[in-house]
Subunit: 293 residues, 2 copies
């Protein structure tokens, strides 16, 4: 009888013991269709470069003026036939018009810096993770971001594969005609200093596996070293059948919170110990293929 009672108590305990949290793969497998979203064609860029296509999601919620200007540049063919001009080891790959003489057409030559914005009105979903650079980090519609309750400002983080705007010394000298992406450890000291305008969803390897430039700041010194940016198109100008058929995990759901938790506590699949924390730049938002539209 005591034995039976003991067993009953054990069963009761087991029923209330917290289940081991899911791993990243299990979170994805158990997700609902509503945990995923499609890319909006009007905010997607297709850049043909280095024998493949880089697919970019634009972030007008962070840099409306720059995104509008970039769309103008794209639609007027500014980027077609430009080049990758700079590949700096553990820092950035940068592209645009190497001559700096090509006409920007009807696009604006300079814009106010959009490196941060009012946090109010932004769908910022915090994650409970420590960060070396900001009091608070999280995601906004899939973009890794930071927020400062004191200043009331929010900004996109310069994580690996962010798309950001090159500029001169003057903060107001950028236009979106010169773009770069971090290819090494996140250069977060660029945050609040440079204006991120989106992130690369697919094709980073086309921009990272390039020879490093031997000039100052990794700029190429000879024309022959520059890989061509053959063509850049806005998703809504790309025939539907040619668009990237993927869906991206939403970052404002309990499923994504579970995914972040799983990234912070990897204790399976060859891992012995979960670290109990994760850098916002080390949370790669899941992307999965879907049937063509």
């Amino acid at each position: 009888m005591t034995r039976f009672l003991a067993s009953a108590a054990l069963i009761a305990l087991a029923a209330f013991a917290p289940a081991k949290p899911l791993g990243t793969q299990a979170v994805i497998e158990q997700s609902k269709p509503s945990d995923w979203r499609r890319l909006a064609p009007e905010n997607t860029l297709y850049m043909d470069v280095n024998g493949g296509t880089v697919v970019i999601e634009l972030a007008p919620q962070f840099a409306p003026l720059h995104v509008a200007n970039i769309k103008t540049l794209v639609r007027e063919g500014f980027f077609d036939g430009t080049t990758v001009n700079r590949v700096q080891e553990n820092y950035v790959t940068q592209w645009g018009d190497a001559t700096e003489k090509k006409s920007l057409g009807t696009a604006k030559p300079t814009l106010p810096l959009e490196a941060e914005r009012d946090a109010k009105g932004l769908a910022f979903v915090p994650i409970k993770q420590r960060d070396s650079y900001a009091p608070e980090v999280g995601f906004v519609d899939g973009f890794p971001a930071a927020r400062d309750p004191k200043s009331g400002k929010a900004w996109m983080a310069h994580c690996y594969s962010a798309l950001s705007v090159g500029r001169g010394e003057s903060p107001e000298s950028g236009s979106g005609a010169e773009l770069f992406t971090p290819i090494g450890h996140a250069p977060r000291h660029l945050d609040r200093n440079y204006a991120p305008v989106g992130r690369i969803i697919q094709g980073m390897e086309l921009l990272t596996a390039l020879p490093r430039g031997s000039g100052q700041l990794g700029f190429y010194e000879q024309d022959s070293q520059r890989v061509a940016v053959r063509r850049v198109r806005l998703g809504s100008d790309v025939p539907a059948a040619e668009r990237l058929a993927v869906e991206v995990m939403r970052t404002d759901t309990p499923t994504f919170a579970a995914f972040v938790d799983a990234r912070a506590n990897r204790d399976r699949d060859g891992f012995l110990i979960g670290m109990g924390g994760v850098d916002v730049c080390n949370i790669r938002v899941p992307v999965r293929p879907v049937a063509k539209p």
Copy 2:
């Protein structure tokens, strides 16, 4: 007279106002000779690969058994004629014997995991920076590291350009015959799970600007894709005149503390705002050329 007093007060204030902290370049320029150290030849590796030489500093203070085993492998020529077998985008480049059949000579085939160690006895110099993964971060003899006061353990961080040991599912299955280095955003979830044995001081671009592998985990699928590791030598076996003539900034000095502070507060040279913090993996310990020995 009141005017004179006011001026005197202002001068006094100015004398006590904190000077604007130095920038990274100024810290280096104002450093003393004793703020720098040479590489110890007996803990340096020279790896000829991809048309150049990767220079590695070994860390016996973190992984004595692995470092000793790697030195045996190197001196017996194990790595000569092996290959780069895996390049996974935003993750790692890995090299060793693709056939997994080459004899390890007198080296041990497996070793206990040396992913962390007792913090006691380690020259850990903390930096006052928040970290997403560990309660405390800092440097040990130039190696970025973390420490947990609760467990009393310390470990090297898997930052960009760390050298770490590949292994199978079993934690005790590594030997140092298969090595990898992070080539993207620091995969710190490897910390305490894999055994870092050093860091790459020069030549990272020889391992990062390689085509990504198309197989699972970025492994190459065809022999022809594998770049040869032509030769690996221990520094003490390299003629003095051929050794890398550099010095590395010491990480246990007030000068290095000032350097970290400058990295955390970059507000010059094109930067408008210092972020007031820096990721331990984004502090690249300065290296500078010196005259040949």
